[in-house]
Point group: C2
Chain length 147, copies 2
């Protein structure tokens, strides 16, 4: 066994990432991660896939859809460990989005208290709910939350 070429089984990747095997297969189906196959058709994962999986989970935690994550990961080299430049590109792309989400959360936190005194959370005047009618204009549904 050549050192450094230790591939992970799906069970091992699952254990190390905390993601169910079924979810890992699902991610692969959707093109978010990749595997090589053994002679007996079993999946084997390179260690770099662990990094991808962790990235997927982190992004999900903050509400990014799998499709958006797939797009982002598609810009990383398909099977090789990403370089500094790869991560920098991805980071820059998402920064505005993350900043916006942070701002929204902070507004909610700060305004929940603030509104208590100001009679807020009435649509006409609430700066939180109605920052330029932008939110309402985007239509209903959780589908569009990060659009």
């Amino acid at each position: 066994m050549k050192p450094g070429v230790t591939l992970l089984t799906i069970g091992e990747l699952s254990a190390r990432s905390g993601v169910a095997p079924s979810a890992l297969r699902f991610y692969e189906e959707r093109g978010l991660i990749h595997s090589v196959r053994t002679g007996g058709n079993q999946r084997r994962y390179e260690r770099s896939e662990l990094r991808r999986v962790s990235f997927i989970r982190i992004a999900q935690q903050v509400g990014v859809s799998l499709e958006r994550i797939r797009e982002a990961l598609a810009e990383l080299p398909e099977r090789r460990t990403p370089t500094k430049a790869d991560w920098t590109r991805l980071s820059a792309r998402w920064r505005a989005d993350l900043d916006a989400r942070i701002a929204l959360l902070e507004r909610l936190r700060d305004t929940l208290d603030g509104c208590i005194g100001c009679g807020c959370l009435s649509l006409q005047s609430c700066a939180l709910y109605n920052p330029g009618d932008q939110l309402a204009a985007q239509g209903p549904g959780p589908r569009k939350l990060l659009a």
Copy 2:
């Protein structure tokens, strides 16, 4: 017509809140909002319901589930405009949660850049992904994201 008792139709509430009528009926079915009925069985909403709807949408934007929102709203007086104390209670309840979500987002934003240099996003060492193994221990699935 007594002044101050202007009830809203579902269409009006929809227009003012930016939430589809079907969603409003759905919220009512789930006990998040309430209506009174006309002789002909049509819904009429008090103005205070507008405040509830806006609250629902804001909370959804930051990833709170309808069930959690329902619980929160259940602590507000069912049909009456909430008092300062009502909002304060609700705000205090959610504060820790919101703070945690903000912290996670900020960590992702700051660490995405940081990890570029530190070889991070490998599960062993990444403080973002693995703050005390807490996230992984919570199991997979977007269902539990805010549990």
